[in-house]
Amino acid sequence: MSKAFGGVSALADVTLNLSGGRVHALMGENGAGKSTLIKLIAGVLKADSMSVEKNGQPLSVNDARDAHEAGFRFIHQELNIIPQVSVAENVLLGRDLPRKFGLAVDWNKVKTLAEDALAFLGATHIDVTVPAGDLPAGDKMMMKIAAALVSAEQSEPVLYVLDEPTAALTGEESEKLFDVIERLKTKGASILYVSHRIDEVLRICDDVTVLRDGEFVASNEIPKTSKADIIQAMTGRDFKNAYPKRETPVGEDTTVSLKNVSTSNLQDVCFDIRAGEILGVSGLAEAGQSELLKLFMGIGKIKTGSASYMNEALPGSPSEAWARGIAYIPRERRSEALCLDMSVKSNIVLPHLSEYGFYAKPWLENEDALEFGDKVKLKSNGVLQPVGQLSGGNQQKIVFARGLRGNPRLLLLDEPTRGVDIGAKYDIYLLVRELSARGCSVILTSTDLPEVLGMCDRILVMEHGRQAHLLESAQMTSADLLTYFFTDNEAAV
């Protein structure tokens, strides 16, 4: 199979060859054209020129239906599920549901079909009758893949496109996904795998193609390339170290102190953070990391124990938190952080509007947006561009610019580099280091273990909302950390 595109501003003359039974990685920084390419194959966007061949036969892909009939299946990064509807119906979405007497929906059949598809993925633990929105992130991904499998009945899928499938998954869930990919591969399907995580790509992919600024840079078989080669191809520059080192010592003053804090989601959390210290919070998915961060934003009530920030009680609301120098970067960029239709400027100054007084002062806002946009190395068409038009990495930089603008004393980062490319990631790490050097304390949650180890001074491992371990990160490896996720609390004594 070969595909050629040309003349699209976001993508120029890119050719991609995929063969059955192989996993092909598509890599590149944000804005490199990966999403555009996928949308073209999916028939969502129209190419200025494009030719698709399948087994030597020309194929026209003009809309989503063509792509589907050609056997292309897409699993997107932002999962489009219908949260109120049961897992089974989500799996069978877009198909006619099986019927009894040609009329009533045959719910037993629906259930069996969905369960069979999930069983093929080894995800028998998922109850297909619960609403899809109640599933943990990893199970949602399994559900989407199952949906892609079920729709295979009409036409044998020849190509699966997975866009950042592990971005929302924990290590364990990712392993399951890799098993599934292996199985799909042996069935003879070809897989286009889009990811920012190089280690993952090196492990499970057979070939890799790298794009940069909408152009084809390199394509190679995985055994013939290396991590360094790929990074070089993606960024056009060498990368010695993925994480900048701490250069200033941690301060003396205590910024945050939690003593045996319990809320409805958290139990017995106990730690201090000093000025400039970076505390990592890790653990399996949804073990209470986000709830811990939100506690500092004044969301969630402390039932027992005591907590202080700058020697006073924790803020009671997000507005008080921002006013007292706490900056928050939520996990879900699109739904929790940004007003997508609004400008870069409005999004950067949003939490700080009160500092401009009663009357709006657009000129001051412009200056600030420019200054902080520069600081985070934002790439946009000016401060008035709607943020929805920017790439994921640049959107995240806007959320960072917003945080920097307040000159924070405490920075809360919930999965700050999720879906962000290597170049932007490094910029973000540098910013975190810079803030820490200025004495700002940081709490960072991440499921990316090397990131936690590379950036944090100490690591809090959580398990079902409980504090399982509090570890010094020096000298630890990912494997060490992972074992702590599954071992019991030694401090229980």
Binding site: L45, S335, C339, M342, S346, L350, P351, A360, P386
Partner: protein, 317 residues
């Protein structure tokens, strides 16, 4: 390019409508007297639509404005009847608007009912109250003090034209709403809430409080319009505001077709109000049946919004 066309399409339509009536009614339509007349007819709708814009900026709605307008007129007239001075009647009626709006805001932002459902409920409540207080009767005649109804007939002479006080009041309200939404940080926050409620809340915007304030402003506007109406007809009737709600929402929607990202703006709402007002005035003069007029106005609103959303979708592609 297409976007520009979409944005200016509504304005173009407005000028075409003006041109049409000017040609059809050469003697009466484009005269100072008729235009002044239109501006006065429109003033109530303008006030309600401008204050409605404040909640619609947050993606909220207020369906209760019409019955609030009726209620405030009735409250004022009852107080006049009971012998209270004019200023007391006006203040209490406006306060009723503020509290009615606050109640809407409470239901929507504190209790968390969808604005459509919450204000549909209060629409009925306010209307029922108006009937209950007035016993379903129109209050008119000697009960309405002339200093109150005289306001609607008064005006300021500019050159040889007399600009009615109602028009001036509407102009002031529009100006204030415009200043609030476009030039204060309060307005900026309302637009942010409309952009993404959850993100605004997490970014430290006091969403609950702002929605309360916004709804109370809309209630205040509705009450004000009710008083203007009562002054103009020198009477109060428990149904007299009922037509305002649909027209106000239609005006905001017409206006939204003109803004860049489809967000409501006071200035564009004013254009929407003018379109509706001019249509009404022109067709009345052409002796078009009022039922036909309603069908026609509905179709025009649908057409404008349909064109806007179609071109928007094409833009997104």
């Amino acid at each position: 390019m297409l976007q520009k066309l979409r944005q200016s399409g509504t304005l173009l339509g407005f000028f075409l409508i003006l041109l049409f009536f000017a040609l059809k009614l050469p003697d009466t339509f484009l005269t100072a007297r008729n235009l002044i007349n239109i501006s006065q007819q429109l003033s109530m709708l303008a006030v309600v639509a401008a204050t409605m814009t404040i909640v619609m900026v947050m993606n909220d709605f207020d369906l209760s404005v019409g019955s609030m307008a009726s209620l405030s007129g009735i409250v004022a007239a009852m107080l006049f009847t009971a012998g209270y001075p004019v200023w007391v009647g006006l203040s209490v009626a406006l306060l009723v608007g503020v509290f009615g709006g606050l109640f809407n805001g409470f239901l929507v932002s504190v209790v968390g009912i969808l604005p459509f459902v919450a204000t549909l409920g209060t629409l009925t409540v306010f209307s029922g109250l108006a009937f209950l207080l007035s016993d379903g009767k129109t209050i008119f005649g000697r009960d309405i003090p002339s200093s109150f109804s005289g306001f609607a007939r008064a005006g300021i002479e500019i050159g040889d034209v007399k600009v009615p006080m109602l028009t001036i009041t509407a102009g002031l309200v529009i100006f204030i709403c415009w200043a609030i939404l476009e030039h204060t940080n309060f307005g900026r926050r309302l637009y942010a809430i409309g952009g993404n409620k959850e993100a605004s809340y997490l970014a430290g915007i006091k969403v609950v409080r702002l929605r309360l304030i916004a709804f109370s402003l809309t209630g205040l506007g509705a009450a004000g319009a009710g008083l203007m109406y009562a002054a103009r007809v020198a009477s109060a009737n428990p149904t007299q505001g009922s037509g305002l709600m649909l027209d106000a929402i239609a005006a905001v929607f017409l206006g939204m077709t003109m803004s860049r990202r489809g967000e409501p703006k006071v200035v564009y709402t004013l254009v929407g109000v003018l379109i509706l007002g001019v249509l009404d005035n022109g067709m009345t003069q052409l002796r078009v049946d009022s039922y036909v007029r309603e069908i026609f106005v509905g179709l025009i609103v649908l057409a404008a919004v349909a064109v806007a959303s179609l071109s928007k979708r094409r833009n997104a592609k």
